[in-house]
């Protein structure tokens, strides 16, 4: 009974309205219409979600006579070495190296000794000396090289038009060439990896030369028909279509659930004290653990309910697609993925918010959660990069079901750890709240005091 009362109280609160707005806004910006688009693209009526070219849908059976079958993740040593060297030379020339320690850009400028070391690395990889490296021919690297685009002297032309010659790179790699005219690696792939590690140690954590980054930018290759057919088979029969969409849906929603629920938890728990209701509640016989659990479950329900509802925007077109095409889909894919992928994230965020708000009687949890969210966002790749303590599992693609299978154990351990954290935070919340109910714990008063001081300073600062 209390559960429904609390649920109603949350659902009619301003902070929940804000939560809903942010959740729906994020979903609308990133995922809304993605399913329809992909289905239409399979009928060549729209562009695919992951392509700007009409067609190319993951639901489209590959045609043997097609010119291209799309790209896939593949570690081709020559491609990786080509891209990594090109990038390193570009940054060396400018002495401006980009690093992303927590996913956010920072420029690094090296001293002369370090620049000399980078030069040595480049010389070893290319087999050229410093003078050669500063006077390379325009077409030494392909014009399009992963995420790098080189422009010829006459490109853009007088009209400002840029011409990009695609498909050139593979041809060039296969040719045995003059190392002074075109890039020909002079080291083995293993030695190249060692040199990149050395470069990263000098430039700093999160540079473009970690294997993760090199593979993200240059670890792709054109698919052939057989590979494309295999991808299609996986989508239709292994993923049952809907699982691919459920993963992408979860990828976007998890970013919202990794942060916004903390506002719901903080405001909800602070309401008792702000409305001077805490003594009326504390003096009643309702058990502390029961109260904390019921409120937590009500908050969790309130946060997950709209997620389930939003999933229908994708599920309904897929059901229709299934009935029209005769391809069977997993109708429960969204429910399953939401439960194992998103629920632990929302739970741990809510429980942390609950614990810190009960402990401090101030909105400290917002700050802590924001830091956690930023760090997690910065440190987690867009797919296949889940660690034991990753808060938000990412899988920003409709393909790559094999990544989920490969990381299956780590994903489950990760979700287990998040649920364990949830349990620990809730347990601590009960202990602290029980102590407060007995008037034994004064952290709250201290927390509130510091919060008031900070708030006063902040607003005084704004007024000035």
């Amino acid at each position: 009974m209390l559960y429904f009362k609390e649920l109603k109280r949350i659902c009619f609160s301003v902070v929940y309205g804000l939560f809903l707005f942010l959740l729906v806004f994020g979903w609308y910006q990133n995922f809304y219409h993605a399913t329809d688009k992909e289905i239409l693209a399979s009928k060549d009526k729209d562009t695919s979600y992951q392509s700007q070219i009409t067609g190319g849908s993951i639901l489209e059976k590959p045609d043997k006579n097609a010119g291209s079958f799309g790209r896939k993740r593949k570690e081709v040593p020559d491609t990786v070495m080509l891209g990594g060297t090109d990038h390193l030379l570009m940054e060396y020339r400018e002495n401006s190296y980009a690093v992303y320690p927590f996913g956010y850009y920072k420029e690094v400028v090296l001293n002369d000794a370090e620049q000399d070391e980078i030069l040595k690395i480049l010389c070893e990889i290319t087999g050229l000396d410093e003078e050669n490296l500063w006077n390379l021919p325009d077409d030494y690297f392909p014009y399009v090289n992963g995420n790098i685009v080189h422009f010829k002297e006459d490109n853009p032309d007088e009209n400002g038009t840029i011409t990009i010659e695609a498909g050139e790179k593979e041809e060039r790699i296969q040719e045995a060439e003059d190392k002074t005219k075109h890039f020909v690696p002079q080291v083995s792939y293993d030695r190249f990896k060692e040199l990149m590690k050395k470069a990263e140690d000098m430039i700093g954590r999160g540079s473009n030369y970690s294997m993760d980054m090199l593979l993200t930018y240059y670890g792709q290759a054109e698919m052939n028909y057989e590979e494309a057919a295999e991808e299609y088979r996986k989508t239709i029969y292994e993923d049952k279509v809907s699982r691919a969409f459920a993963r992408l849906f979860c990828d976007y929603i998890t970013r919202s659930l990794g942060l916004y629920p903390v506002f719901v938890a903080v405001v909800f728990w602070m309401k008792d004290r702000r409305n001077k209701m805490n003594e009326l509640i504390d003096s009643r016989q309702f058990g502390t653990a029961k109260l904390v659990m019921v409120r937590f479950l009500a908050m969790l329900t309130a946060c997950m309910l709209p997620v389930f509802l939003l999933s229908f925007e994708s599920l309904l077109p897929l059901l229709q697609y299934s009935s029209e095409s005769g391809i069977s889909i997993d109708a429960l894919a969204f429910v399953k993925y939401i439960l194992w992928w998103l629920l632990p994230t929302a739970a741990v965020v809510l429980s942390l918010g609950t614990f810190l708000t009960i402990l401090t009687s101030a909105p400290a949890a917002v700050l802590v959660q924001a830091v956690w969210w930023f760090m997690d966002t910065g440190m987690t790749g867009l797919w296949g990069d889940t660690g034991y303590f990753t808060l938000m599992i990412r899988h920003n693609t409709l393909r790559g079901s094999e990544l989920i299978r490969q990381n299956f154990t780590i994903l489950w351990v990760n979700r287990g750890i998040m649920l364990l954290f949830t349990f620990i935070f809730l347990l601590l919340s009960c202990v602290i709240y029980e102590r407060k109910r007995k008037g034994k714990c004064s952290h709250g008063y201290q927390g509130q005091r510091y919060y008031r001081i900070l708030k006063k300073r902040f607003f005084t600062g704004i007024q000035k």
Binding site: M1, R9, K276, S283, R284, K438
Partner: protein, 290 residues
């Protein structure tokens, strides 16, 4: 039915707010009198089980105060400062608190109707809490404290901020409720205690200065309360010599009620003491003692 307090101490940090408090509270209306900061709220919070004693023992109907779950079943608490989620309606708020009091649905409904009638808030049950007047909010406070039909009702400064009419209505209500339970109310207004309670305890700086019946309390200052008339210009000198209880304009002069241990050296009339006189007398004694 009895509350027994024995050698009760309460410390917040290094500050002792209750010191060796011992007395018994029998059934009926019991007043706790003391100035702000005397320790009344700390004492009541302990009885309401939302604060724990540093030392000493408290039993309610022979049940140890640490047996919180059972104590909370028989205690109703009206805090000095309280409120409810502003947008919650009166009935819904009582229902919410009833759930927290673990009352079954049918019992809750019946109890809510009864208490709303008792505090005369029936017609306001669909009003949002934020739209209630100050008096209505205090009446709501009583209603929520009565929800679980408590054997002991603890009301901390229940009439603070109320107009005289509302105050009288409150004490009448308390008198009705006191027939079959203990009602412990705290106040710093001695007149309220005299009007409503049969027994009282006076707290000052965490210590019990007096405990007894109202008649005994009055007798404390017997022979020490005087009335005299003084000129307005003499007030300051007079205050230096005597403890003034109150002053009242009387034509060009001022009628002054005051305390004196000896026969005053001014024209005077010996007065029948009130609880307020005795309270002031006790405070004077304390002041002199310190």
């Amino acid at each position: 039915m009895e509350i027994r307090i024995e050698h009760l101490y309460k410390k917040y940090g290094g500050q002792e707010v209750l010191r060796d408090v011992s007395f018994r509270i029998p059934a009926g209306m019991y007043g706790l009198l003391g100035s702000n900061g005397a320790g009344k709220t700390s004492f009541m919070r302990i009885l309401a089980t939302i604060s724990e004693p540093t030392a000493g023992a408290v039993t309610i109907n022979d049940m140890d105060i640490r047996n919180k779950k059972e104590i909370r079943k028989i205690v109703g608490y009206l805090p000095q400062e309280f409120s409810v989620y502003p947008s919650m309606k009166v009935y819904a708020a009582l229902d919410y608190l009833g759930i927290l009091a673990e009352l079954p649905k049918a019992v809750r409904r019946q109890r809510i109707d009864t208490v709303l009638k008792q505090v005369n808030l029936e017609s306001e049950k669909n009003k949002k809490f934020k739209n209630l007047s100050g008096g209505m909010k205090r009446r709501f406070g009583i209603a929520q404290a009565l929800l679980n039909e408590p054997e002991i009702l603890i009301a901390d400064e229940p009439t603070a901020g109320l107009d005289p009419e509302e105050r009288i209505r409150f004490y009448n209500l308390f008198s009705e409720l006191a027939k079959d339970r203990i009602i412990l109310l705290s106040t710093h207004i001695a007149g309220d205690i005299e009007a409503a309670c049969s027994r009282t305890a006076v707290l000052d700086h965490g210590k019990v200065m007096f405990e007894g019946s109202i008649a005994e309390m009055r007798r404390l200052s017997e022979g020490n309360v005087y009335l005299t008339e003084i000129k307005p210009g003499e007030i300051n000198d007079f205050k230096k010599k005597y403890k003034v209880i109150h002053l009242q304009q009387n034509g060009p002069d001022i009628l002054c009620r005051f305390l004196s241990d000896t026969i005053p050296a001014v024209t005077h009339v010996l007065c029948e003491p009130t609880v307020e006189d005795s309270y002031m007398y006790l405070l004077k004694q304390c002041g002199e003692g310190e």
